[in-house]
Amino acid sequence: MDTPMSHSEFEELAAGYVLGALEPDDEHLFQQHLSGCSVCEANVRELEAVVGELAYAVPPVEPPDTLWAGIRREIRPEAARRTVLPAPEAGAEGRPGPGFAACACCRRWPPRRPSCWWWCCRCGT
């Protein structure tokens, strides 16, 4: 019978866990431990953010246009006909986009009513 793992051994497994590199038995043990350990849970959250950054180490490659076209084809049957957009919060991009600044019917930012937002931005008036 194997000796139970110590907490420091579980802490060491956290890196392999977020990298998706644990062996199945270690992964099973770690997941069980994780459900009852707030220290390891917080550690995993932090390491997940670090792992997420690794993706940016890759040089960018432009996806082919056919990629979005394929996604669009799949979602088209379900897509809502019209959605009222929320007002962008200040700082989301520093300033409203060009379509918003030209709002002719309310002459203010942000627009007072969502419907005003919608029509100003979508009809281009």
């Binding site: 932090e46 180490a57 490659v61 979005w68 979602i75 929320p86 918003f100």
Partner: protein
């Protein structure tokens, strides 16, 4: 640039719209993260068509079940890239012949695609420089262990076999490497993009 009306919205707002089946919101998220997702999938899988399949699955998965995204667990970017990574690794583990990247930073030396959009390139170039700088402070053995796992999709036991060291050594190297990466990125103070604020 597609979907100008969505430009000023934060990622979280876009996900809420995707949950209401707003195709424009999904398109806006694709504009923001499709390239990072595709670049990562290409690096792991090397084959263009497999990488496209993975990215398509990632965005369709968000479309079908946007409510699975939990803002308390991290940013939308992390969520999408993490999903890309998991799916790409699943594929690479099924297709052993794709694993030709024995030495892990080989693929990181590739030049950026000249067709990449300039407006986004400034942001991603800075970020890439920070992540690479963080990787460069790691001892080579720790860096190799991390990159073999992340980009090669190797398990700890496979990494141990490739590096010719015991499994326990690999566990220690990965843990130490991740800890140092975290410190290095914190020191670099990676600036949060306004899109990603919760």
């Amino acid at each position: 640039m597609r979907g100008k009306a969505y430009r000023g919205l934060r990622d979280g707002q876009l996900v809420e719209l995707v949950a209401r089946k707003d195709a424009g919101a999904l398109e806006a998220l694709y504009d923001r993260y499709g390239r990072a997702s595709y670049s990562l999938a290409r690096r792991i899988l090397t084959e263009e068509t497999l990488a496209q399949d993975v990215v398509q699955e990632v965005f369709l998965s968000l479309w079908r079940d946007a409510r699975r995204f939990d803002a308390g667990r991290g940013t939308v970017a992390t969520y999408l890239l993490s999903m890309t990574h998991h799916r790409a690794v699943d594929v690479v583990r099924r297709e052993e012949n794709l694993r030709r990247w024995r030495t892990s930073d080989e693929g990181l030396e590739l030049e950026p695609d000249p067709k990449a959009r300039v407006e986004e390139e400034v942001v991603t170039t800075e970020r890439r420089a920070e992540v690479r700088a963080a990787l460069s402070v790691l001892p080579p053995a720790q860096r190799e262990a991390l990159l073999l796992a992340y980009f090669g999709g190797y398990t700890q036991r496979e990494v141990a076999a490739l590096m010719g060291v015991p499994l326990g050594t690999v566990k220690t190297r990965m843990a130490a490497g991740m800890r140092k990466m975290k410190e290095a990125l914190q020191d670099a103070g990676t600036e949060e993009h306004p899109w990603t604020r919760q």
